[in-house]
């Protein structure tokens, strides 16, 4: 008996789900990002309004003053969904682990001058509370925002912020005894230099508009903090004065900030371009929050960089304004 084996090609009848095809067409297979994102937002049949907030539906675009005809326009240029995001972060985590191994095996921390190490602890450790604030605020966007394209990356961003808080904690433990973390918290709660920033972070917790908190946290707060601290302070000042180890151990923050800026920029730019009303709103928010963040950073820049603090902060602020201009804002 002979068995005749034949290869037969079976063409799929449809290339993707119809709720995805509505956005991207059905002429070719949709990417995983598109399938994980488009059409995933629950939009109807909310039988009851939430008892804790009966003014709104469970998922309600009007929680934000920003108005978009379709919230799926806020696409993430990084095309992150759970799969690609975890793979990207796992790679970065591996790189950070090997940096830690390198620094620890060569005892590089103890080769830093003591006063520099104290300075880094003083400036960096309280920032874990700021990163935790970023986590809270992005959780808020994920919970109350509208449209999966906007909220899904926000929930990933919230975990990233928590990751940054953990990296700062770990850096604190590498630099100092565990009591250093308590000292950092004490400074965050009591030291006069930190109070303006703490006030700002705590005020951001009560903002109810998910898009406003996006602008405040991801554009204004992080957009000024990261270039100043991880750019100018760690990578320029500390690294040049014998603290390259610290620079290695905070590599994730720099890389992550640069990467996630592409998402933040795309969201702000798209929302502002949709209407004059959106643009005015986002402009106001950007102005108000970046001005406050700038003022809150004055004592911290002074503490970190001494006499050069003020001029460095002005440079950072000028670059921030140029970035906003590119996004179509007039900040």
């Amino acid at each position: 008996m002979t068995v005749d084996l034949q290869a037969r090609e079976i063409q799929p009848l449809r290339n993707t789900f119809s709720h995805v095809a509505r956005y991207v067409g059905d002429d070719k297979p949709a990417t995983r990002y598109q399938e994980a994102t488009f059409g995933a937002q629950a939009t109807s049949n909310f039988h009851y309004r939430p008892t804790w907030d009966p003014e709104y539906e469970l998922f309600d675009a009007s929680r934000s003053k920003v108005v978009l005809a379709d919230w799926y326009v806020l696409k993430d240029p990084r095309q992150f969904y759970y799969g690609t995001w975890t793979m990207a972060r796992a790679r970065q985590q591996d790189a950070m682990e090997s940096s830690y191994q390198f620094v620890e095996s060569r005892d590089l921390i103890n080769k830093m001058p003591d006063d520099l190490r104290d300075k880094v602890c003083q400036v960096i450790i309280p920032l874990r509370h700021v990163a935790w604030g970023g986590n809270m605020n992005n959780c808020m966007i994920a919970a109350y925002g509208y449209g999966t394209a906007f909220t899904a990356p926000a929930s990933l961003h919230a975990m990233d912020e928590l990751g940054v808080a953990q990296y700062i904690t770990r850096l604190g433990l590498a630099l100092d005894e565990p009591s250093g973390l308590d000292a950092g918290k004490e400074a965050w709660l009591k030291a006069p230099q930190w109070q303006a920033l703490r006030h700002l972070v705590e005020d951001s917790f009560v903002v109810r508009d998910p898009f406003e908190i996006f602008v405040a946290q991801n554009l204004a707060i992080d957009g000024l903090l990261y270039p100043l601290i991880f750019g100018h302070f760690i990578d320029d000042h500390v690294a040049l004065n014998g603290g390259t180890a610290v620079s290695m151990l905070s590599a994730f923050m720099v890389e992550w900030h640069e990467e996630s800026n592409r998402w933040v920029d795309a969201v702000v730019k798209t929302a502002a371009a949709e209407s004059e009303a959106n643009k005015t709103l986002i402009n106001e928010w950007t102005h108000a929050w970046s001005k406050r963040m700038h003022d809150a950073l004055v004592p911290i820049a002074q503490m970190a960089l001494g006499d050069k603090g003020a001029s460095t902060l002005e440079d950072v602020f000028t670059q921030f304004q140029a970035r906003c201009k590119k996004l179509g804002l007039s900040a």
């Binding site: 290869a7 090609e9 079976i10 297979p29 990417t31 995983r32 993430d76 240029p77 990084r78 095309q79 690609t84 990207a88 592409r262």
Partner: protein, 89 residues
């Protein structure tokens, strides 16, 4: 004139590569058969890192493409930014 070609497994990882090749090489044609996509192009075919990154939205190392590469024909000229197939005769 003779063709160069390159073939990949059909999956999520190779999709942005294929899309980038088709965007950069207007004369290239992709033929899909089960599990495999073969791209033919007259004379030469170029794969650019930048275009793949644009499709992907993330950084890409051209070496990553080897994981899904099945076969190719042509002389290879390769560096960090591009991978070119052509016939040098």
């Amino acid at each position: 004139m003779s063709n160069v070609f390159i073939a990949f497994q059909v999956n999520e990882e190779s999709r942005p590569v294929v899309d980038a090749i088709l965007a950069d090489n207007p004369n290239a044609t992709a033929v899909y058969s089960p599990g495999l996509v073969k791209i033919d192009a007259p004379n030469s075919l170029v794969i650019k890192r930048e275009s793949i990154e644009e499709q992907l939205g993330q950084r890409y190392d051209l070496q990553q493409m080897q994981v899904n590469l099945v076969t190719l024909s042509g002389h290879i000229d390769e560096d960090d930014d591009q991978f070119t197939l052509s016939w040098n005769h």
